[in-house]
């Protein structure tokens, strides 16, 4: 894949992400904060972007959406990799969901 094609794919992924984020926030802000895992400030900024701004921001050589799982444990649970006592995929995924749902709530209390 040449770099021009790579850039086009990054732009497309960015655009898809930004548009989805805007749709989610407009539909239900509270739910969107949970689904996207972004801060309230980021959500307020995202929702105000015009289409022209969206296109401009999407055209970059960097991806705008960041990996949400920043924790080895959660990643191992999601992939059912390296787990000992419970190795059922559904159950380990549920465990990962509990950990992920708990994540942001904590950092918010720490920030205030």
């Amino acid at each position: 894949m040449d770099s021009e094609q790579l850039l086009a794919e990054i732009r497309e992924a960015n655009l898809t992400y930004l548009m989805l984020a805007q749709n989610l926030i407009r539909k239900d802000r509270a739910e969107a904060l949970f689904r996207l895992g972004v801060s309230e400030e980021a959500a307020d900024l995202l929702v105000m972007l015009s289409t022209a701004q969206l296109l401009k921001i999407a055209s970059s050589n960097m991806l705008l959406c960041r990996f949400r799982v920043d924790d080895d444990l959660v990643w191992n649970l999601l992939t059912s990799h390296n787990v000992k006592k419970v190795d059922n995929t559904t159950t380990t995924q549920l465990h990962a969901s509990i950990l992920m749902a708990g994540k942001y709530a904590e950092s918010m209390t720490a920030a205030h």
């Binding site: 509270a30 739910e31 059922n88 559904t90 465990h95 969901s97 509990i98 749902a101 918010m108």
Partner: protein, 179 residues
């Protein structure tokens, strides 16, 4: 609470009541969370659900939330609920409704039977408000799980890191399995 007769408030109450009925809430939840009369709620219930509401008392014990499988469901719901209530300023009942929708969505996605009913979820939030249940961090995985308030946080290990001996052996379809 100010009991001003406002058409706007009433319409909001009706909308909430409809959402709750659709999620399967018991009539007691509607009575508690809206200022609509019992007779109107009963009529609304029949119109929306197409049947009479089930009778009898609400489950009143905190024990259910502490048994292995229900505890995992309850913990997921409560984590979502906390997330929403910390990031958005919603009325308490709207937080419960939204969190419950997100919880059932996750259950459908993972093809697990949603053990937690909206009535139980609502009840649990009340238990937490009254200090009868709380979230305690697991000392092994760091996740927050529903426990009794006097659980020793330093030694607490959740049911997923250290499943009890009989866990995951039930034969019910859609139940959680260990292997």
């Amino acid at each position: 609470m100010a009991t001003q007769k406002s058409i706007l408030n009433e319409s909001r109450d009706i909308e909430r009541a409809i959402s709750l009925i659709k999620l399967g809430a018991r009539l007691q939840v509607l009575e508690y969370e809206t200022s609509l009369s019992y007779e109107r709620l009963l009529r609304l219930y029949k119109e929306v659900a197409g049947k009479s509401p089930s009778k009898g008392q609400l489950p009143f014990s905190t024990d259910w939330f502490l048994t292995w499988q229900p505890n995992i469901h309850a913990s997921l719901f409560l984590n979502i609920h906390e997330y929403l209530s910390k990031t958005s300023e919603l009325e308490e009942i709207d937080t419960v409704i939204k969190a419950f929708r997100l919880y059932t969505e996750q259950m459908t996605a993972s093809a697990i039977e949603p053990l937690l009913s909206v009535t139980r979820a609502w009840r649990m939030v009340k238990f937490v408000d009254n200090g009868m249940l709380t979230l305690t961090k697991c000392s092994c995985c760091g996740g927050s799980f529903v426990t009794e308030p006097y659980e020793n946080a330093r030694q607490f290990v959740c049911g997923l890191c250290e499943p009890p001996a009989r866990a995951g052996k039930g034969s019910a379809a859609g139940g959680l399995r260990l292997h």
